[in-house]
Symmetry: C2
Subunit: 193 residues, 2 copies
């Protein structure tokens, strides 16, 4: 009945951060192909009171590193949040990936029942590790990762759900679907969005 805390957090985040990195590479390429200033896309929002793309990426990466730091009790590396370009966002993702990869599976051991406290200037949030992962860290991460994806799709960047999911770890495929899912995004694979 168990699912590893390490697998459900560190491995999930590293997988999805690599997917996010690829989405952003496609977005940067789109700026070149359609000939517009990347800063326009980086500062685009889906609604005036939502975060722009650059902030969605900053917060998604924050959620990933913060979760792994809190579950393992390792200090959460502080970032300046001063990225303004696609290469700088890629560098940020690389730094978060390096931090998560520096943690060992054993450091997550027992974290499902360990207390996690999130301190904020206006009070604290407390959970056990499993509740924190399932009810806070993962939905927060997917919230901002999904917002980045939807913002890009709304602005015409050519992406599909397979870009969001990436090559699913541990999945084997048979039949036509294998070719469809392991190849590049095509009109057919983009159906389900």
């Amino acid at each position: 009945m168990s699912n590893s805390m390490y697998q459900g957090s560190a491995l999930v985040f590293t997988h999805n951060l690599k997917n996010l990195s690829k989405l952003l590479k496609k977005a940067a390429a789109d700026c070149k192909v359609r000939g517009y200033d990347p800063s326009v896309l980086l500062n685009t929002r889906l609604a005036p009171d939502m975060f722009p793309l650059v902030k969605q990426v900053q917060v998604a990466t924050d959620n990933a590193k913060g979760c792994c730091a809190r579950l393992t009790g390792v200090a959460n590396p502080l970032f300046e949040d001063d990225e303004t370009t696609f290469p700088e966002l890629q560098e940020r993702i690389k730094r978060v990936l390096a931090f998560i990869r520096s943690l060992k599976a054993a450091q997550f051991e027992g974290s499902d029942s360990r207390q996690v406290e999130m301190k904020t200037p206006i009070g604290n949030l407390t959970f056990n590790g499993a509740d924190y992962l399932n009810g806070w860290a993962l939905p927060n991460f997917y919230f901002h990762y999904g917002a980045a994806y939807n913002l890009l799709r709304h602005n015409g960047v050519q992406l599909g759900k397979l870009d969001f999911l990436g090559p699913v770890p541990g999945m084997t495929m048979s039949g036509k679907i294998a070719k469809m899912m392991s190849g590049k995004t095509t009109a057919k694979t983009k159906k389900k969005r």
Copy 2:
């Protein structure tokens, strides 16, 4: 190091389906307040080649029930996918919640290492239960749930991240943040999106 498969799937889905239900109630109320036909919002898309709201909800609920069925080896209830109104979508969510709640925690036992096979007309996808949950079922669910949220936000429905997260199971709060997060969405709580 373990996280319960039951908690990480059934409980996560029931929590988020209740959140989705509330988002849709706010969306239906918005149609009345702003005086437009609900079918316009239900058929709105964030991009011409993305699913409209009604389909995002159908697929998100499909992911939730399909995952719980596959992890427990119980037959996946087939739905007609013929909803066209907000009340019908609420009814669909209720049916999925009832199905998931009919499953016991013990039925998820050992599902992390059991083989899960997704059969499609063009081939099959195979994983163990943990890889399926972490790499397929959860990201797929959040993909469509997030798309519904972002579509509503883009169209001016008054929502914030706290609506998406809902009242986090097992979380205790202290200080000003407790009042902020347990109350209704305010301009302040809507900051982080």
